[in-house]
């Protein structure tokens, strides 16, 4: 094992291969080295495609009563039917779609908020920095799930409310990260150069500073995505998230709180749980590989 690795290293002396290839190429090559991440990418791709194409793939309407109550998996109903006779496979597809939508939208919102606040705090410093960072501290020192639960209970649970709540809670980490990077970038020569050249502020912030901090933001955003999907599932599981009849991976598991479902009908709660685990673990592996691949000091 060990010998192989050394041989591999010797074949490609550092420096020579870096000069000839573009940054994206290098990222791609380094990413591919992580086999688990490559597999995860395929798995996630399949899940996302299935979710996007759910109207085409699903054999039944997700809310349609299609067969007998609580039937075990059979040829007509691949994953069985639930207590009121809806097809579980169709519901699972639509649920995955909703859960992915919540995760992606919440991540997008929190990334935008975090980036903007981080840029302002890091670049302008002073009073703006102090106020923003104190506010960040407040949101961070709040037990996260508690805040989400209280907010969800209060603003009538529902799809868009869940997205907004998760989006408004997840940003502090990104804000801190961006602020830290901006503090460093502000002192670099190319930013000082633009400043001296009289470039407009908008250009300096969004065309000089932001592109140089995209990589860590991307890596962080993958972990936020994984977290939001987990949180949506937890909230919906507790009945405070996406409301039935709309299926989400979390609220499909909600039924398993009843003893009959838990003991006698495992097909009702095992598949959605496994899908959550697959999605989240795939995102985490991809994020880990991206961290490694995008690291400018990573070498090799």
């Amino acid at each position: 094992m060990k010998k192989n690795r050394i041989d591999e290293k010797n074949k490609k002396p550092p420096g020579t291969d870096l000069a000839g290839e573009s940054y994206l190429h290098m990222v791609f090559r380094r990413f591919r080295r992580h086999h688990l991440a490559a597999v995860s990418l395929i798995v996630l791709g399949v899940i996302v495609c299935a979710a996007l194409l759910s109207p085409v793939i699903a054999p039944y309407e997700p809310n349609e009563i299609a067969g007998p109550f609580a039937q075990a998996p059979s040829r007509d109903f691949w994953l069985g039917t639930d207590q009121i006779g809806r097809d579980m496979f169709s519901r699972l597809l639509y649920a995955t779609r909703i859960s992915l939508l919540v995760g992606v939208m919440a991540t997008a919102i929190s990334t935008v908020i975090g980036v903007l606040l981080g840029l302002v705090a890091g670049y302008f410093g002073g009073l703006a920095d102090m106020i923003i960072m104190r506010f960040t501290d407040m949101v961070m020192s709040f037990p996260y799930i508690l805040l989400v639960l209280v907010a969800a209970a209060i603003f009538r649970p529902g799809l868009w409310n869940i997205i907004l709540i998760l989006g408004f809670v997840d940003w502090p980490g990104i804000a801190r990260l961006v602020r830290g990077n901006v503090l460093g970038l502000r002192e670099t020569n190319f930013v000082k150069g633009s400043l001296v050249a009289g470039m407009p502020l908008r250009h300096i912030l969004f065309s000089e500073i932001l592109p140089n901090t995209v990589a860590p933001i991307l890596v962080y955003a993958t972990s936020v995505l994984a977290l939001s999907i987990l949180d949506e599932a937890a909230l919906s599981f507790l009945g405070q998230g996406v409301q039935p009849p709309t299926a989400s991976l979390g609220n499909m598991l909600n039924g398993a709180q009843s003893l009959t479902v838990l003991t006698k009908q495992p097909w009702l709660w095992l598949p959605p749980g496994l899908v959550i685990v697959c999605i989240v673990i795939a995102i985490n592996f991809i994020g880990d590989a991206l961290r490694d691949a995008l690291d400018p000091n990573g070498g090799r």
Binding site: R134, M138, A153, Q257, L262, V277, D288
Partner: protein, 315 residues
Amino acid sequence: MGKYILKRILIAIPVLIGITIIDYTIMCMAGSPLAMLQGPRVSEAAIEAKEIALGLDKPVYVQYFLWLKQLLHGNMGYSIKSFQPVSDLIGSHIGPTLLLMGVSLIASLILAVPAGIYSAIHQYSKGDYTVVTLSFLGSSVPGFFLSLLLIYIFTVRLGWLPSSGMTTLGADGGAADVAKHMVMPVIVLAFSMAGSNIRYIRSAVLEILQQDYLRTAKAKGIGHFKVICKHALRNALIPIITVIGMEIPVLFGGAVIIEQIFSWPGLGLMTMSAISGRDYPVIMGVCLLSAVVVLIGNLVTDILYALADPTIQLD
């Protein structure tokens, strides 16, 4: 040192006040808790009288200051549902939560510290890959799903462990009985915490292993075991302390869901019923308590840093 602690506490106070303001605003946006009481059998006049008695007819900021004033007198208010003082309610529920949190934290450290160090020492070995993959699994499996699986296996199939409560009803099993009830919630909490902790400790130890002083220690020829145990582990204390500090808010939040599933009679279960009953004074009390705990956790982490690493300069 004393000066530093004082400074940190002074910084924490405005953060704490800010948190209470955010809490109060969110809760006031939700509307009156008396809305739940409304019905054909309750007259408007009765609701109005109740509103005045609870001070809900005053403007929001006046209510906030009244609440704050009461708080400074050590009174956290009264539950709207059971009319018990909030401090009594919290006092009677905090024991089981602290027990659960403490045991889970210790269990996760027992799992994560050796695994993280092993994984760092044997970097890129098969064992390392296994540990890292498992740790990803730990942080990717939703706690409630793992709980369901455990209940399914150990309670439904095997019948080994009880799935709800803290003690068996009617029986006086003592510590052994409580321990039996604790096994599954502790496994769930410890497993999910250990997931992120292992990777954190691993990367921290990897960094330590590349330091010059470790190379020196190795060069002295004192043996692999001594190098790791005496020179590396002392320095690995700092990341371990960070991990404990990071876990406190996670524990507080995670406990809410886990307590709900296992009907563990702690703060989480109380909070969930307060949330669904819109019992604002209780929710405010729990939010305040958790914010204080998190801020104290951060402070203690920073102080422990200084004790573990004399080169860190406070002030």
